[in-house]
């Protein structure tokens, strides 16, 4: 029996050149790849590198959906190349593989995601409440909620799909879902001493720009319920501090905590 063959349209392109002012450009090239059992799209990219295009740039490390390096878009959907199985894709039409479209192109399937590292570095790190951390007693109940957030592998697929960054280009005002997750895990931590996380989430990270349309949740390869468990709870905390007139009165007369 002849092996099934898949047709790929893979984006091949070059970065923008700031000096000469040349914009990023590229085109989709067609490649044929024989389909093996258990194959993932990253295998197909390696096959193309081996057979047709040794200069095809693709970033990867673990091939186990754990390092978050191989993020790209498959048939228009943000995916990990190493997690997308071939048998879950229709083979009767070309499989389109492109780089993350929200971040600047480096080459072919590789993008420059360093903006995310800047957003990360800007967030004030965990600040323990007590000096002597040896004395800490943390109960399981107090960390179950934030355990989920620790699964994040920083693949930035959520950042790629978020329309605030992708279509409205508000990188100036919105840190993106990945950092809403991080801020939630810090703000919900019982031992974090900072009381300005909610303010930061509203004013620096721009949570109001998220309209909870849940695309981040749809693409997260770690199945983190980003919108329901991080963003909406943080929006509610922002309401407590900034919008709820009753809470304001309660705080004024000392019946609610000043954060």
């Amino acid at each position: 029996m002849a092996k099934a063959e898949a047709t790929f349209h893979v984006f091949r392109g070059e970065a923008a050149d700031a000096e000469s002012g040349v914009e990023a450009s590229g085109e989709y090239q067609e490649y044929k790849v024989p389909v093996e059992e258990g194959m993932v799209v990253l295998d197909a990219m390696h096959y193309i590198q081996g057979e047709d295009a040794p200069d095809l740039a693709v970033r990867w490390n673990c091939k186990a959906a754990k390092c978050g390096s191989c993020s790209a878009e498959i048939n228009g959907k943000p995916r990990l190349l190493c997690k997308q199985r071939m048998d879950a894709l229709p083979l009767d039409e070309p499989i389109v593989v492109s780089p993350l479209k929200t971040f600047p192109l480096v080459k072919d399937l590789v993008t420059d995601v360093s903006w995310n590292y800047k957003m990360n570095a800007a967030i004030p790190p965990f600040q323990p409440k007590e000096e002597d951390t040896d004395k800490w007693e943390v109960f399981e109940n107090d960390v179950v909620r934030t355990q989920e957030f620790r699964k994040c592998i920083e693949c930035f697929l959520c950042q790629d799909v978020c329309h605030v960054l992708r279509n409205h280009d508000r990188k100036d005002a919105f840190a993106g879902p990945r950092f809403m997750v991080r801020l939630a895990s810090l703000d919900m931590h019982p031992m974090d001493a900072r009381n300005d996380r909610v303010k930061y989430t509203k004013e620096e990270a721009g949570i109001g720009l998220c309209n909870i349309t849940k695309c981040c949740t749809e693409v997260c390869p770690e199945d983190i319920k980003i919108t329901d468990n991080a963003i909406i709870p943080m929006k509610e905390r922002v309401v407590d501090e900034f919008y709820d007139p009753v809470m304001k009165v309660l705080r004024g007369i000392g019946l609610a905590h000043k954060k």
Binding site: N141, C215, I232
Partner: protein
């Protein structure tokens, strides 16, 4: 074999490389919500046949015994029937109570975190689906979005932040609707039902009971309620009270995961309950008494 494909503008509404039926879901939501809005508006404008308690307010087949056709049923979209409760206060008011009532559950659903997602996608196209380009639709501009996307930071979307207050009101409504459901079983005597007994189970009683159960599931799976229960706490094990709140939060979180399901089922059931009572009151359909 090089194929040059123009890199499209990924930001234009509908622009995408997706080849699956990404438009199916937003269209279904558009149709579903649209249908409900049209039906509820029509039902409110019709202005009668929303209750079956009074002989003169329902249509009785010629020659039949009128007392066999009254029912302790009131449509949820007209409950509480304020003009009937406070006749002096509302003597000037001549329209359906639906116009007095619907704004409250309407505001609750309009600011609900799930429905926000649903209509931002289907009606406002910001975005219509994931990794599909979307600029604010003409409708969203009409409703006050500036040209530029501003999320929920500006008027009028700013008011989405007050969702919790609509939840408080919705929780009060649940008490009233529970009372209506109770009446559906134990309110037959004072409306003068034929056999003079107070307890009956009609198909309508069950329909109304289903309504209050589903609305309860929807209302109490709300994200604002989840926050209030214990989501706002940082430390769950700090006191007995916070531990109790944590237990409640865990249970509520289970409901919350299904919030979208409850949102739809309860919406459909509200419409169905109203339709059922309306058809019976108009004599088009006959309610059966089971026992």
């Amino acid at each position: 074999m090089a194929k040059t494909v123009v890199i499209q503008d990924i930001n234009a509404t509908g622009a995408t490389e997706r080849n699956d039926g990404w438009w199916v879901e937003p269209l279904m939501v558009l149709g579903g919500l649209g249908l409900f809005i049209v039906y509820a508006t029509w039902a409110a404008i019709q202005g009668e046949f929303y209750a079956m308690e009074k002989v003169e307010e329902i249509i009785i087949p010629a020659g039949a015994n009128a007392a066999e056709f009254v029912r302790p049923y009131l449509s949820p979209i007209c409950s509480p029937d304020l003009p009937r409760w406070f006749p002096e206060l509302f003597s000037w008011y001549q329209w359906s109570p639906a116009f007095l009532i619907l704004p409250f559950p309407g505001a609750f659903r309009a600011t609900c975190y799930y429905y926000r997602k649903a209509y931002y996608r289907s009606f406002f196209t910001t975005p219509a689906a994931c990794s599909v380009g979307g600029q604010p639709s003409p409708l969203s501009k009409l409703l006050g979005f500036t040209k530029k996307y501003t999320g929920e930071t500006q008027f009028p979307m700013y008011f989405q932040n007050l969702h919790r207050f609509t939840f408080y009101i919705a929780a009060l409504f649940m008490v009233i609707l529970a009372y209506d459901a109770y009446q559906g079983f134990f309110g037959w005597e004072h409306i003068g039902y034929a056999d003079g007994k107070n307890f009956h189970v009609g198909v309508g009683s069950l329909v109304i009971l289903g309504n209050v159960v589903l609305l309860g599931l929807y209302t109490f799976s709300c994200h604002s309620w989840r926050h209030l229960l214990a989501g706002k706490l940082d430390c769950f094990s700090c006191s007995d009270f916070t531990s109790k709140r944590f237990d409640a939060w865990k249970r509520q979180s289970f409901l919350n995961e299904h919030h979208m399901l409850f949102a739809w089922v309860s919406l459909i059931w509200v419409g169905f309950t109203d339709l059922y009572i309306r058809l019976c009151a108009m004599g088009i359909w006959q309610d059966r008494i089971l026992f």
